[in-house]
Each structure stands twice: as structure tokens, then as C-alpha cells.
């Protein structure tokens, strides 16, 4: 599915949901004021710590695990320890990534697969050969 099809699909889903929103305002049984009384916090606390205590504790464990996982994923990189795991991004690779992003093209990381028309259209004709050169340099360095 290309970008245009995705846009039209999004607009279609948006229109359906807006129609549902307008229909919801006309449902008869929802027009009157609600019964209320759900803001009884004593009853809510009783409910949480008696009927739903297992789910509450599991939620606490899940939150703790999510926090630890987020800290591990986003931890600062250490040059010595992480060198084998993370390849430092070089300057020209950064430039290549930025030019790719600006061109709006979707293609594999393998530079040789850049379609010529996309590279030429985005002004990357010279850059495309530079990309292949960079890939060759990267292979030689490794």
C-alpha cells in the first residue's frame, strides 16, 4: 500500500468514526443524565484490593519490568563495552541516512539496491555512486 492509498484509507476511517460520533449524539437512552455514583472512591478502593487484587499486583510487576526494560534499552552507550554490539555511526553514514530520509524513498540498507530514478529525482545521482563507494569502504574497513 503506497502513501496515497494509505492517506485515502485514513480519511475513510476518519469519516466513518466521525459519522459514528454524530450517531452517538442521537441515541435516545444516552440523552438523559447518567445515574452517577461511580465516583465513590471507597467502593473503588474496595473493588481494587479485593476483587482485582491479583490484576493490580500483576500490573505493578508489569510497570516495574517495563521501567527496567526501558532503562536497559535507552542506557547511555559505553565505548569500550558496547563497541562489539553497536557500530558507531560515521559522519558520511549520517549524511547518507539524512539524504535518504529527505528523499522519502523506501529501500533496503544495501546501497546497491537504490533505484536510479529515485536517486536521480532526489538529486542523489552523484550521491548514489558515493553511497556505493561508502559501502565498499565500509566493507574494506571491516
Amino acid at each position: 500500500m503506497n502513501r496515497d492509498q494509505q492517506t485515502w484509507l485514513a480519511i475513510g476511517v476518519f469519516a466513518v468514526l466521525l459519522a459514528a460520533m454524530l450517531a452517538a449524539t442521537s441515541v435516545e437512552q444516552w440523552q438523559d443524565d447518567p445515574i452517577g455514583g461511580a465516583e465513590d472512591f471507597d467502593a473503588l478502593a474496595q473493588d481494587l484490593f479485593t476483587d482485582h487484587v491479583v490484576a493490580l499486583e500483576a500490573l505493578g510487576i508489569l510497570l516495574t519490568a517495563a521501567m527496567i526494560g526501558a532503562l536497559v534499552i535507552a542506557r547511555p552507550l559505553v565505548a569500550g563495552e558496547d563497541r562489539d554490539v553497536y557500530k558507531p555511526t560515521r559522519g558520511h553514514e549520517l549524511e547518507r541516512t539524512q539524504r535518504v530520509s529527505e528523499a522519502g524513498a523506501v529501500f533496503p540498507i544495501d546501497d546497491s539496491a537504490v533505484p536510479a530514478n529515485i536517486a536521480a529525482g532526489a538529486g542523489l545521482a552523484a550521491g548514489a555512486s558515493a553511497l556505493n563507494t561508502d559501502a565498499a569502504d565500509g566493507g574494506e574497513e571491516e
Binding site: S26, P34, M67, Y86, K87, T97
Partner: protein
């Protein structure tokens, strides 16, 4: 009190805008914000029908939903930071490889 139809309409509007933002945006950060809109639309629905029926079950589910949304946002942002370190952009079109 606010009629239930108003709350349901607000929930549907939030859901619509959230899905629209999720499908039209290329930035991963904006996608995460749109997902939060969708989750909050469901929360409003839970609270609205809890008030409609006068029970606290909907409020219990809302609390669970808020906590899950917080966990999902934390992990999603951590993954976004990790991704940015490799492709140096938050554009999802640039992240085409499964590993780096």
C-alpha cells in the same frame, strides 16, 4: 451531569483523530502521541459508561488502562531512542532493516 452521548461523541472524535494521526504521520514520535490519543479515547468511554450504570467497574478498568499506557509509552520511547542511535532520524521510512 454531562449526558453519556456527549462523552461517547468525544471518545469517538479522539479515536478518529488518533487513528488519522497514526496513519498519516511518518514520525515515530507523532505516531506514539496518536496511540496515546486512541488509548485515552477508550478511557473516556470506560468512565462514561461507569457513570451511566453507576458502577465502579469502568473506573477500575480505566486505572489499569492508564497504567498500561504509561508502560507502553516508556518502552516505546526507549525503543525510539535506541532506533535513533542507529538511523539518526525518527522517520519510520528510514528504519527498513530488522537488525543493525
Amino acid at each position: 451531569m454531562i449526558p453519556t452521548s456527549h462523552s461517547v461523541a468525544l471518545s469517538a472524535a479522539l479515536l478518529a483523530f488518533g487513528i488519522l494521526g497514526l496513519m498519516l504521520n511518518k514520525s515515530a514520535l507523532r505516531m506514539l502521541i496518536s496511540i496515546e490519543l486512541v488509548l485515552n479515547a477508550a478511557n473516556i468511554n470506560f468512565v462514561a459508561f461507569a457513570q451511566e450504570h453507576g458502577t465502579s467497574d469502568g473506573l477500575t478498568y480505566t486505572l489499569f488502562s492508564i497504567a498500561l499506557a504509561a508502560a507502553e509509552a516508556a518502552v516505546g520511547l526507549a525503543i525510539l531512542i535506541h532506533l535513533y542511535r542507529h538511523v539518526r532520524t525518527v522517520d519510520t521510512d528510514a528504519a527498513t532493516a530488522l537488525r543493525f
